[in-house]
Symmetry: C2
Subunit: 409 residues, 2 copies
């Protein structure tokens, strides 16, 4: 075989699949993929933790300690004490946050992403209704679309998902004899808007779940990274009828490279999600390293430090926006109390996809609005990530962005 071998006729058949199915199997259109960034690019696109946040020495130490103590089982299919130890650590941690759960309610996954995929895989048949926030996390959105869900969105304002809009979608589906399979929400420091769902709306969402009979997929990737204001209870902790499936991840509080997340949910659902896997268990080696790290260190102390670091970065980004791209003339942005993202609104005549190439040429990248919307709307929005860069780079990035945007205002 040569490295550039010809496509076989079967690929042609694949590419002539019906549009709906093909859409689910091809890369989402995303500006970031099509323009090559400058070497000095300030990447404000992806939700990467800052490199200095990774506990390199402690993970090295944990690996040695774990392999010495546990021996071989961490390297076998399924793993051993490290894998069950991590499970118990997480169940205890969930219980402390008001989400008591047993081993039957727990599933370790390759990041939240795999959890979302397993959920969609077991629940969604082609054409099934799934409702998300609009905008929402593009990875989740794409996962549901890949299962050929009919994804509809309810808009997000400063208090989170608009529950009246949600109910209109639900009622309209009911009138057509349909139910939503699940409603996917990121209640804390939402991706991409940075907003937090109010307590009142959380209650209303749970009521709607009972009234219209759907499950709630609660993605809590950023929940522990609040830097101001007061924690709100998770939907799972308020869940009286077993309708909430809660997704957690180590990606934002330890490191994405370990690829570890978890799901807490109703036992029959977890059993079915587990049964669809044939992959030899989630990363026994990495899970056992992370268990050792969690057991021997102080994760809460680390998280407290991360909150301070991320607050500084958010402040730098908001300050730079105020300075370089002042609110008004159709420009505004969200004020996140935690998490990784600021959501920037531009005047309706500015298309974030059209300014993308210019921005990258000027040394800054971002995620354009439309990839975050089920219907491709939101063209005058931009997701800005403040987690990856230090304050100086953030100011530089926002300045570069403003240089591209200002002439359009």
């Amino acid at each position: 075989m040569s490295a550039n071998q010809p496509a076989t006729p079967q690929y042609e058949a694949f590419y002539s699949l019906p549009a709906q199915k093909r859409a689910g199997r091809q890369p989402a259109a995303r500006g970031a993929g099509t323009v090559k960034p400058r070497p000095d690019n300030v990447q404000l696109a992806f939700g990467y933790p800052f490199p200095g946040s990774f506990p390199i020495d402690d993970l090295t130490k944990a690996t040695g300690e774990m392999l010495k103590a546990e021996g071989t089982s961490a390297l076998q299919y399924g793993g051993g004490p490290g894998v069950t130890g991590l499970r118990d650590f997480l169940l205890e941690r969930m219980a402390k946050r008001g989400m008591p759960a047993g081993p039957d309610n727990y599933l370790l996954t390759y990041g939240s992403a795999q959890g979302l995929e397993l959920l969609a895989r077991v629940l969604v048949d082609p054409g099934d209704l799934v409702i998300t926030e609009a905008p929402t996390f593009f990875g989740g959105l794409r996962t549901f679309q890949m299962q050929l869900a009919d994804v509809k969105g309810a808009t997000v304002d400063k208090d989170g998902m608009n529950m009246d809009e949600l109910e209109i979608i639900l009622a309209s589906a009911e009138a057509a004899g349909k139910k939503a399979k699940f409603v996917y929400v990121i209640p804390n420091f939402q991706n991409p808007t940075g907003t937090t769902m109010s307590l009142e709306r959380r209650k209303r969402l749970l009521e709607l779940a009972d009234k219209y009979d759907f499950l709630i997929a609660e993605d809590d990737a950023y929940g522990e990274l609040r830097f101001e204001g007061e924690d709100l209870p998770t939907l799972k902790s308020m869940d009286k009828s077993g309708r909430v499936v809660h997704f957690g991840t180590f990606s934002k509080i330890i490191a994405p490279g370990v690829r570890l997340g978890w799901v807490i949910g109703p036992a029959p659902l977890i059993a079915t999600m587990t049964a669809t896997r044939i992959d030899g268990g989630t990363a026994p080696f990495a899970a056992s390293v992370v268990n050792q790290y969690c057991r021997s260190g102080d994760l809460d102390k680390r998280i407290a430090w991360l909150r301070k670091e991320y607050k500084q970065r958010r402040d730098a980004m908001l300050g730079a926006l105020e300075e370089n791209l002042p609110a008004g003339k159709g420009v505004s942005w969200s004020m996140p109390e935690g998490g990784f993202f600021v959501w920037l609104q531009l005047p309706t005549h500015v298309d974030s996809r059209e300014i993308y190439a210019g921005a990258v040429a000027n040394g800054v990248s971002f995620v354009d609005g439309p990839v975050c919307f089920p219907d491709g709307g939101g063209k005058n929005f931009v997701r800005l990530c403040f987690s990856f860069n230090d304050s100086e780079k953030l100011r530089q990035g926002i300045k570069r962005l403003a240089e591209v945007v200002a002439p359009k205002l």
Copy 2:
């Protein structure tokens, strides 16, 4: 939420899904799941490497060296030099085995299992024809069935898959206006039979692929673990028309717990498989550790040692079979020249599922034949794994098995 929360009405809806779809989403019936083994059970069921084979000290060392040298990128989404280093290492290794490939032909996965799943996901629509060996690896079979493929099997004899049977299936499909999406084979030391596909049949399979226009999924999990006889060229190395997708794994030559496999295939297919993933890249941390391990150690020397170890284990199992359950009266077994498995045939009136509970009660477990067949046939067959136990345990396990089988002969 309580640990034992009630199922919601939506689960009832799920469990009333059409049988075909439900079958694809529920655990395969497997005897091993239903009977609790004794504490002193000799597990001959699953293809686990023996615990003493894992390079604990070297992996500990590699972790420290890698994190010190690479710094943070191994812990970030996507990873850094360790991930590209492993890619280059594997591409060079594949080239040495007659399979030159470029970065566009390569995909790192969570074991071969994820590779097979991605392949099925992008190629298989419900009802599409997929052909496997019969018997075959139950994990692969289940993956294809979960994508709702119509899986048909061509039987395996001592020279591998029966190509005349394969052609009958293909011609019959063609007569009905259908093609096979792919044919899945394990040419070397097949799982579960331990047999190796002859060179002549490899050539014929490639000819059939051209004639009937299908892809070949070549699972080479055991290919480097030959302990006698001569290596045969891989299908991929003989592939002139870009029809072979080759699956490799570190599970059998380093450790399953790192969950790392790779796919080498046509660039457009690899691109599509990659595009269906949203999971933040395969295990950057584990991949970087394994790259460091491969770069600083001598993988070929390790494999040479593993071959000797596995040969001893195979010899112990075959010797114990000869001693305790002599061939004849409908009893026979395969003579693998490599890999992990021996395939035991019992008289047609003996059902491996019916003797399973008795065997486990007597302290030995195995995989029953029917889970390895697309149509559930093969009831008088048993898969025995010799990779996990030492020679003494293997002899004990076979003796226990014989005690249960002998009265039935």
